[in-house]
Amino acid sequence: MLRFLIARGGGAVVVLLAKSFVIFLLIGLMPGDPVDLLMNANPDARPEDVEHLRAIYGVDQPVIERYARWLGSALHGDFGYSRGQHRPVLEIVLPALGNTILLTGTAFVLSTLIAVALGTVAGIRRGTPLDRAINLFAYAGISLPSFWLGLLLIYLFAVHLGWLPAGGMPRPGQAQPAWAYLVMPVLTLVIVEVGGLARYTRSAVLDVLGQDHVRTAHAKGLAPMRVALRHVLRNALVPVVTVIALGVGHLFSGALLVEVVFAYRGMGRLTLEAIMGNDYNLALVCLLFTTIMIVIGSMLADIAYAWLDPRIGLEGRTRR
């Protein structure tokens, strides 16, 4: 197990380095550069000042050297300053990271539980009205734009009924309790997330239902509930858990739209603002943290897969 973790962790570090380099390259292709932006703010600048500043900022260096310099300071915990907010980038990113983890973590737990339950019921009760109702719900989930669903919820619960705040973050001294700000964003993410996962669970359950050992379990007279839980769900969960773990990172980055609709101060909204505001350092770190979440998710998927399916050894994992 330890060897597996070390090997997998080493691989993840290499992948992360490669990804951070690609992100660095892309940020370099964003409009303007730090010196241009300084110059725009200062009409008195002379051409030799520009050259001087370019040397100070290292903009005249080849990209690989700039990346090495950035990586060197990043490894010392120095991610630079935000151009827009004039604060160290980490000071801005960490609270947003916490907010997004709270939002997507809650949505993740709820949507996983609901989706696995619905998918299992739909698979076992295949062809019944219940199955069709669940299927319809799942279909809506995968076909709805999350931001539009958010808009509808705002109209219903905030504008029309006035029960919940339309968006924003809790502040001390407000009438609404802090959790009220989470209800609609979480609900939106859950509805959208449940669809695909419930469909996947259902098809995994159907795959297992057709296998011999399930027929044997029924034939030897086990209670249907026991067959469903011990023999079907347990086996069906192997591929499902992998998909769930792989989805963690994408849920994290996909929450961006929901965060924007509900003016939620999370990583997604911060990423968008940083990219739109040409805030290079901030955008870089936002993308980097989001990528780290995805890498962690895929590591979890590998571990869960190996742990749930004893046929796949931790060392000799076959490529899917």
């Binding site: 990804k19 808009l151 705002i154 057709g210 993308l287 995805i294």
Partner: protein
């Protein structure tokens, strides 16, 4: 006795697809949307309305004989805008999905046929792209300054460039699923006797791939392409909603929703129509995709 000629596999698939009511409903809905988008100009001149020209004397008009769904905050006809937005969404979805599939098929088939280190590198690269944060990547690719890549500034600033940039972004990020399917199909088929026979007869690798392998591996790719189109329509509306997708004066459903977000208290209807259109389009595409899947693979339980 006169026996009818045996049906080809594609005829059988077509029959099964035609018998699938949901798939046919989806196809019909897409056809209507496509025709509506193509006829947007005719529709506008027929009713004398415009989805682009602003008219500050008829802001927020209620539905009438000329403006079937009323006008928006700039006096533009909502139906005309929905039709125009449909054209943009469908063409971005179709072009994006097809180009992504072509890239994915090329990469996957190469990896599966050549194998060895080429396969290893291509699949590592595929994993790499899959592991990028999708939505933030779409946003940053939409925000890149293309002149820094050496493209002429006049082209980059032109209206058409924005549309093609969005299509290209989806092609660049969306090929991974198809690549895996094409690789798996190629790997399995390359071991079949008829492929050995073709190789023994001296067929070139290109001929083996294009004549013997790809036609047999294509059905999951077609299904994946259809379902990818639905996801691209969703993602395009999301990007345009964020203001980084299709830019004005081109109309998009996501852009209309962006506009409606600030007006949700005064004109909630403006937030309803574009979303309903997106929902109908994506459901129709998914119906068609699921129908194709069961038509291609009838032995398998319908998911």
């Amino acid at each position: 006795m006169n026996m009818p000629p045996p049906a080809t596999v594609w005829q059988l698939r077509w029959r099964r697809l035609r018998a699938d009511r949901a798939a046919m409903l989806g196809a019909a809905a897409l056809l209507v949307l496509g025709l509506g988008a193509a006829g947007a100009g005719v529709f506008e001149s027929w009713l004398g309305v415009s989805g682009v020209e602003t008219d500050l004397f008829s802001r927020f008009d209620p539905p009438s004989a000329a403006h079937w769904l009323g006008t928006d905050d700039a006096g533009r006809d909502v139906v005309a805008r929905l039709l125009r937005g449909g054209g943009v969404s469908l063409s971005v979805g179709l072009l994006g999905a097809i180009s992504a599939s072509v890239i994915g098929t090329l990469i996957g088939a190469t990896a599966g046929y050549v194998r060895g280190w080429v396969d290893a590198i291509l699949m590592r690269f595929t994993d790499f792209v899959i592991g990028l944060p999708w939505l933030p990547m779409l946003i940053i690719l939409a925000a890149l300054d293309l002149t820094k890549l050496g493209l002429p500034a006049a082209f980059v600033r032109s209206g058409g460039a924005n549309f093609w940039r969005i299509v290209a972004i989806f092609a660049l990020l969306g090929w991974t699923g198809v690549a895996r399917l094409a690789r798996a199909g190629t790997l399995a088929l390359a071991e079949q006797e008829f492929v050995y026979a073709a190789r023994a007869q001296g067929a070139s690798p290109w001929r083996i791939l294009s004549v013997h392998i790809l036609p047999n591996a294509i059905s999951p790719v077609i299904v994946a392409t259809t379902l990818a189109m639905g996801r691209i329509v969703l993602a395009e509306s999301g990007l345009s909603f964020l203001g980084v997708g299709i830019q004005p004066p081109q109309t998009s459903w996501g852009g209309m929703l962006n506009n409606a977000l600030d007006l949700i208290g005064t004109a909630p209807a403006l937030a309803i129509y574009p979303g309903v259109m997106i929902l109908i389009t994506v459901v129709a595409i998914n119906f068609l995709g699921d129908g194709l899947q069961s038509a291609f693979d009838p032995g398998h339980e319908r998911r």
